[in-house]
Symmetry: C2
């Protein structure tokens, strides 16, 4: 009987355990958690803090699983491949115990990046947002002391979601972004629209500002954040959301190799460099299906997929992780934004000859009530016509994220931009057009590349492709 | 300079003309329309009649196109391949003229099926719903004479949409369905839920009833519809929506071969059996990508795709129509229903060993407000694990139609059910889960087939293939 030990009880760890049990119900499976929150949706913390998800327990769909032993407050402190054992400390002041494994899966996740040399990071009132504990600390501050204002440092996924969440709760929010516009993981034309949406909902957006110092606000309550360009603002709390890095301490000290990105190196079978030890989730490098190399892409969706593969292989399977294409989506107030694949600069670095064309169209037939404009950016390779990536921005009811999934499925199969027109997508006037907006974006790209209109296209400005093209659906 | 003549100015005809112009801007392109409504969205008629689309002109996104000569009220009456000419009658009482072509595209569409031998079909107050003219006639009846009640014969796409539309307008609606439950193009478990949704919104649903007679209502105003099982009801108007058949008169008399379904036989290049004559849309047979044979599948989406291919090839292109996978969707009151691929009985007839598993799950993370249940039916081949089809039913805001599109993209590429888990679909709690419901449906299928649970899953298995024209153009 295989004894499978999983270190980590978040997305990757739980998925691994579940799939191992599914494939081999007789396997003896234990999941070690450093805290007491197995299977909690960390992605849900902004909604807990906004008040939309009132009870934190809602964030866990399930916390107990048939045939899986969930060991909360069990912190793995060292892994010994030679003896196939893990030293585990139980509780805050527990003694180390030793647990044996036949197969081990490391799913230790990520830890927040702490901006190097930023003074004041450890002051009371400065928070990260990566664990349930972080969430409780922020919640407690918001509830307990009439916190009415917040400064968010970082305008990526967590930063913009938290700006939305805190405004939902009536808190004054200043969002400080290193980049201009905010939200650098999509193209600037969309970033600007996100910035406008944030401003429209009362967020003070400070772009192109490098935070230099956090300090107690002198004789006033709260904290003062100072940055480049003379920026200074004071608020009751500061949230630092400047990304994550892989938590690899345990793996590295066990002699497991890391990759160039600093995350654990794994095969597509989710095996580490030590036999019998797999790894998955935010602590590992991810195979990128378009780049055909590994990269660091910490995402819940990927963690689940990798965990499932690692779990299956731990009990004798031979499954491969098929790779990420970089699909992501976020809701910011009334907007949904999604991306998949490569952006133009990423594609150029990877050796492609990318062209990006932006199209604006309706999310469904304009004659049916409630139609909203969608913006679609398609990136393809000029030489081969291959689809390389796409970005969509629109109303949050415009099925933006499932539309990016059509692009994601196309990318998965290496389709050409033109090939998107071959996909038999569903249509009824309340939901789409006979050519879905995804296909209109593809047609606009084809037309622009054919006519050379792309050569006059500057990345920040949508071209006017209205005339002479077919991308607006008859 | 190529002279391209297109007969028909609806989806296929306009798409053909647009793409021909896109590929060869010097081509001389004329589109002949029997009526005066080029590029009108016939799928939009229910929304015009519900009042949601107040002005019928909104149904046409554009009616004029650079480089394309739109000839309204030009009825093609005969095609002469030997001389490459078409005889055309202009207006109601016009004389025949002859027009020359280098390349001809026939896009004459479909005509409503008239239930054979049904007395009363031609009485005043009995309507079809296939042309703008039909729409105006119904509209006029609804507006002019205080029509307060309607009987709809046929509970397919048009029937259920019109039930919704007329209820929206406050009309009493009786929907008579030959099948039980209604809406036979999806599985009965979903059909029953659609029936309940119709009833919940005040539609009187009469299932398993064959209409036998329509007659004037004696001394009362209106029409009486009688049917099997003693059914009789009287209403101000009767709408007959019992499917369509290809309009092939022009093609057949020109010597163009029809296929076994009675529609025009075409290659994947959308060429008929006569050189220089292409055809597309509801008048032709459609290549079914999963069945790997042609079938009659009249749909707006397909018509656009076929038209685009026919148009490109007419001006020297060499494009192939990649085939339909049978994607369709409809909104009925608060529900969205979508299907793609084969249903179980269709798959069995085609030689597969199909298994269908139904899963219920949330459309997005249940902790985020507004979560709704989705039902997903996945059909796969037991022997090979290949995905064969899927059906989804849920709230109309649950991105049902774009979720079916993920299945459609997977079907296009011949993916296995298990492979769906490899797709890198986007996630944020307001829109999905780390495994999208599409993937949860796939996992449930895998699990059921593995454990043999599918062998006891018979309750909702469709008993036989619906015969005739189950697929109406939305």
């Amino acid at each position: 009987m295989t004894r499978l030990l999983v270190i980590g009880g978040s997305d990757a760890g739980i998925s691994a355990a579940l799939q191992a049990h599914e494939i081999d119900p007789r396997a003896e499976i234990s999941v070690l958690l450093a805290d007491e929150y197995p299977n909690y949706s960390i992605c849900g913390l902004p909604f807990y803090l906004s008040g939309e998800t009132p009870d934190h327990r809602q964030l866990a769909h399930r916390t107990a699983f048939d045939g899986i032993d969930i060991l909360t407050n069990h912190r793995a402190v060292s892994v010994h491949p030679a003896t196939q054992t893990v030293d585990v400390v139980r509780g805050a002041n527990g003694r180390a115990e030793t647990m044996r494994y036949d197969h081990l899966i490391i799913a230790t996740g990520a830890v927040p990046v702490r901006p190097q040399g930023l003074p004041g990071l450890d002051l009371p009132g400065v928070y990260g947002l990566h664990t349930m504990g972080d969430g409780f600390a922020v919640q407690s501050r918001l509830m307990g002391s009439e916190a009415r204002s917040a400064i968010i440092v970082g305008a990526g996924y967590i930063g913009v979601e938290m700006a939305d969440a805190l405004r939902h709760r009536g808190v004054d929010v200043t969002l400080v972004s290193h980049t201009d516009p905010v939200f650098p993981s999509i193209d600037p034309s969309f970033g600007r629209l996100i910035g406008e949406e944030l401003s429209r909902h009362g967020v003070r957006v400070v772009a192109a500002c490098t935070v230099e110092r956090i300090e107690a606000a002198g004789n006033r309550r709260g904290l003062t954040v100072s940055g480049s360009g003379g920026f200074a603002a004071t608020a009751d709390l500061v949230l630092v959301a400047t990304g994550v890095r892989p938590d690899t301490t345990l793996a590295a000290t066990a002699g497991i190799a890391l990759g160039p990105s600093g995350a654990i190196r794994v095969t597509q079978r989710m095996e580490t460099t030590i036999p019998g030890i797999g790894a998955a989730g935010d602590c590992v490098e991810t195979w990128h299906r378009i780049l055909q190399r590994s990269a660091y892409l910490p995402l819940g969706t990927t963690a689940h997929k990798q965990g499932r593969v690692a779990g299956e292989n731990a009990v004798g399977g031979a499954r491969l992780f098929a790779g990420s294409v970089g699909s992501q989506t976020v809701k910011v107030f009334e907007l949904a934004i999604a991306r998949t694949g490569l952006r133009e600069a990423e594609a150029r670095t990877a050796g492609f000859d990318p062209v990006t064309i932006e199209t604006e169209t309706w999310d469904h037939k304009a004659y049916y009530p409630g139609a909203q404009k969608l913006r679609i950016r398609v990136t393809g390779d000029r030489r081969t016509g291959r689809l390389l990536g796409a970005q969509i921005l629109g109303h949050w009811r415009s099925e933006v994220s499932k539309r990016i999934d059509v692009f994601a499925a196309a990318l998965f199969h290496g389709m050409g931009v033109e090939d998107l027109n071959d996909l038999d997508l569903s249509y009824t006037p309340p939901f789409s057009s006979p050519w879905d907006p995804v296909q209109m974006g593809a047609q606009a790209w084809m037309s622009a590349v054919k006519t050379g209109a792309d050569k006059s296209f500057t990345a920040d400005r949508p071209t006017n492709l209205e005339k002479g093209t077919q991308h607006e659906s008859p």
